[in-house]
Amino acid sequence: MLALMVFLPMFSAVTAALSGHFSRGRGRQDRDAHTGAAHAADHTESNAPYWIALASSALMLVLLAAAFLRPVPEFRISAVLSYGLYFTIDGFRRIYGLIIAFMWFMTLLLSKEYFHGHHNVVRYYFFNLMTEGAILGVFFAGDLFTALVFFEIMSFTSFVWVIQEETDGAVRAANTYLAIAVIGGLAALFGIYLLQNAFGTTEISGLYECAKECGDKKTLYTAGVCILVGFGAKAGMFPLHIWLPKAHPVAPAPASALLSGVLTKSGIFGVIAISCGLFRDDPGWGALILVLGTVTMFLGAVLALLSVDLKRTLACSSMSQIGFILIGIACTCLLGEEGTLSASGAMLHMVNHSLLKLVLFLAAGVVFMNLHELNLNKIRGFGRKKSVLQVCFLLGALGIGGIPGFNGYISKTLLHEGIVEAAHIYGWALKLVEWIFLLSGGMTIAYMTKLYVCIFAEKPGKDAAAFQAEMKAHRPKYLGVFGHIALIGAAVLMPVLGLSGNTLMQGTAHLGSSFFRAEELGKMSYFSLENLKGAGISLLFGAAIYLVIVRKCLMKNGEYVNVLPAKLDLEDSVYRPLLLRLLPGIFGPAAAVFGENKVLKPLCRWIMKASGALAQLFGENLVLKPVSKALVRASGVLSRVFSDMTDALVYLLSRSVLRPVSPPPTDEAENSVSYRIGNAVDRIQKRRGKEAEGSHYFAELFYRLRRTFVRKTHNLSDTMSFALLMMIVALTAVLLYVLFVHHFG
């Protein structure tokens, strides 16, 4: 059942891709649908992949809803990947499975309209469904290893979302995304294998006990930090958040909703797994997460406030909300046994933020598919007289702003309570965090107000009005039926959840508590004065920030301006130079020295020269030559002496004892054999009646053959090479003999 849930979307992804592939032949694809995507009239690409994707996600929704009602057995595949995969399910995973399925379904409802006329849509659906399977794999993973495997798959499939539009910005953002994903994945890998080494298992449910028994705190911290880097990067945690404000805006809006809403949560999932597993009662770890969370929260809020791009604001807002969640997790670690409130707060804020970002990004998607523009100055006033969009966006804004009565309020109150509890123990540091928390809440309200006012209240400027009118001409109806269903269906949850704090929300927190190793959440009086006070302070902050900073500092001549200098970009100013300049900078000299043979080659040459000089010194001129010359001379004299002596000796002998006899006739023209052959031939010739001349011929032939043979062998045996040849034959014979003796003797 669990494996089915994970692999069904992947299977339908393949089906969708194939259906897209085979139905493409029916009509030419509309290729030049870049700027005028919405008004590509003769759009003929097949819808089959879309329906398959929608059906599959609907099926997933049913399946995951059913998982609530029936117990689901855990599932192991042992042979795979040397450690095996392990899936399990509990309350937290059930809730997140359902949220994932719900969000996928809702975004797919809008997708048909959104992608109308876009190209590479089949690719999008394929990777969309693949990602759904992968992210379910992450959440259903029973051990960190399985989680990592699907986490990596998810990184790669969602990479395609980011680069889907293939604009320059998208390509750049996608590169960043990929780099961070790979770094994070590797760091997590390292951490997980340290755990595997230390514990022999990475099962999430067993981490707590293992960590308790483990004496080696150093390994534990190393592993924890590595895994935190890995999963924190996906969550958008500072200082690895750099990809998030770039990647979320450039992706298509349905994908942005998923990236912000659930993909970041898969990172949080890992952070919770180790924070509430390895370091459940560890204040040191809690402090680390707290600092990172606070910075993320505050920085995200500031960036969102300064942004002039609708989706970028929402993306930075996501980062900020992740910071809120991290603070909840941190307080859980800080408080140990008493961390129920913050654990529930973190849990509920995760859920709320997923649903909130769904509404907000869908609304942003509606804006984009109508105007193809996200700059606040251009989309200004777009939402006027579009009541459905307006109400939905408003619900989302109120929710995320933490206004009482909406879902964000519940979780923020719990988080706030958690901080207050921790402040009782840890004092001023937590007080500071509390104020930053409230301030960030205020900034949340301020930037949401900024967006809302800009889109729905203000009138467009002159250029913007002309632009919007032009775009409207291409698209008379701004939102279709499916889009309406998606928006309303997503938005209606905000007040519903917000007003059911002690029923629905409490139940959710209850289900999630075991994953956090926290107690069950009791009944809370959310609308008590004490709790309303926090929201009130934030609201005041928000109003002040909006009125003073946004209206006065961030607007010039009625236009929103981006006051953020480009230099502040952490990626461009630190990470990229570090990776692309510093490292090669170190290796450049090494490469110059060794790689291109700046050392080896000269060294060889130098040795050659030195030995050449040596040879010259000894071998040729100065020493050996005179010596050898002298030797040659001496030997010449000697040999002459000796040869002359032999000559004299021979002469003497020939004159005295060994008087030469006349040499035997070697030049016999005819000997007995040739004579006989010749005669025989002559006789035959005569019998046949011909002239008999053969004897001469054969005699001559025989003579010539014999002479050639004698002379040749004589010449051969005279030469040096023959001697050498013979010597080699002899040596070989000796060697063979030695081998023979050695071997057999």
Binding site: A79, E152, D168, L186, G595, H742
Partner: protein, 489 residues
Amino acid sequence: MKISSAFLLPVILLPILSGALIQAFRIRKRKTVRIYTGAVTLLTSAAAWLMILWADDAPSILLQFTKDFTLKLRFDAGGRFFAGIVATLWPLTVCYAFEYLEDDPRQNVFFTWFTMAYGVTLGISMSGNLFSLYIFYELLTLTTVPLVMHTGTPEAIRAARTYFGFSLGGAAFALISMLYLIGGGILKESVDITRVFYVIGVVGFGVKSAMFPLHGWLPKASVAPTPVTALLHAVAVVKAGVFAVFRLTYFGYGTEILRGSWAQHLLLSLAVFTILYGAVRAVREVHWKRRLAYSTVANLSYILFGIYLMSPAGLTGALLHMAFHAEIKILAFFAAGAVLHRTGREYIFELNGLGRKMKMTFVCFTVSAIALTGIPPLSGFISKWHLLTAAAEENTPLSYAGAGVILLAALLTAVYMLGTVRTVWFPGKEQTIPENDASGKKIRDASLWMLVPMLILAAGILLTGLFPGIVIRHAQEIAETVRVTGGEF
């Protein structure tokens, strides 16, 4: 039933003699040569696999000059592992080469040397002592030099000269080390001198395993025809170097006297440095095949790193990476070669958007790139995981540095491999997607001769990634039963 080890020699000789026969007969018809080469390669692979599975473990002595200088074959588990990699990949490469060399006027010459190199490589895996290993090692140099300079361009000849020079120089070092082992005499009494000679030997064999600073020939040799760069310079030749280092470390000298010594530390730091160096150079390189060659430099040092750890876990990781890097890198080279063959493009920046035109080729390349980065569930992940585990088990500063560098290099791998993948599939709006190649022909995907080997390899990467159990088991078996005392194989 065991096959007698006397049959090892015929397996080696079969490709060597058959390769020479191509020249003897001077066959004119291209097709005949192909059928002949294909048949010989398949036959050899089948025979090699028979021997891998069922050969006797006993040594078979071919020639005994003296007691120490003996030509001896013995097929032990380590050799079988290496031979298994080679015997699996060779037929695939030959199949690929048929297409790649379709217009080559000197096809016969190519297949002659290529087939002979097969036999010699098998000889390396089967050699039963250091002397035999050395002989085959030298022969491998001799048979592969003509392949490097096959195209005959000045560049290729220069590359071949570099390769030859490096190899011969290295062989001289290896010879010194070998002679020391055989007749070290009184010198052997000092452990430190033995270590010095070990390092000399590793440097000698290290030439083929492209260890810094002896890697210079490898990137240059990428001018060779792609089947050569793919099979020889990513698998056979370089892995033979690694294999020789493995033999020298575990069998020749024995890890007993090396473990924990300065020699180990020196070599470990060299390996670590080479990993980083190769990866960084690969990032900076814009020529596709040279980039892959630099990546090979880095990846070979992963294997060396595992070997130099001198622990069972390290050796397991090394052997796994030897197998998995082989299939991954050969696939990457195949893709580069297919593009070169179809379009004549060899620089990364020329590849913009080519993924749309040569879909299957680049799907395969993407698989290879992801696997090389070490992303689960593909096979590169498995071997890296084992190497990392081994480094952590070792628990020394140097091994942790190695682990860190492996991770950093993985990031750099992502930059240079996935960067290419990104360019290929997502060129960006402003880039124009090429329609025609240089000669004006429409760009098509690689033909089946090339695609089938590539798809088999891609499937292999996925399957060995998902089900690595059998490979891991064998590697562990080798690592745990391997001797540590040195001496004969």
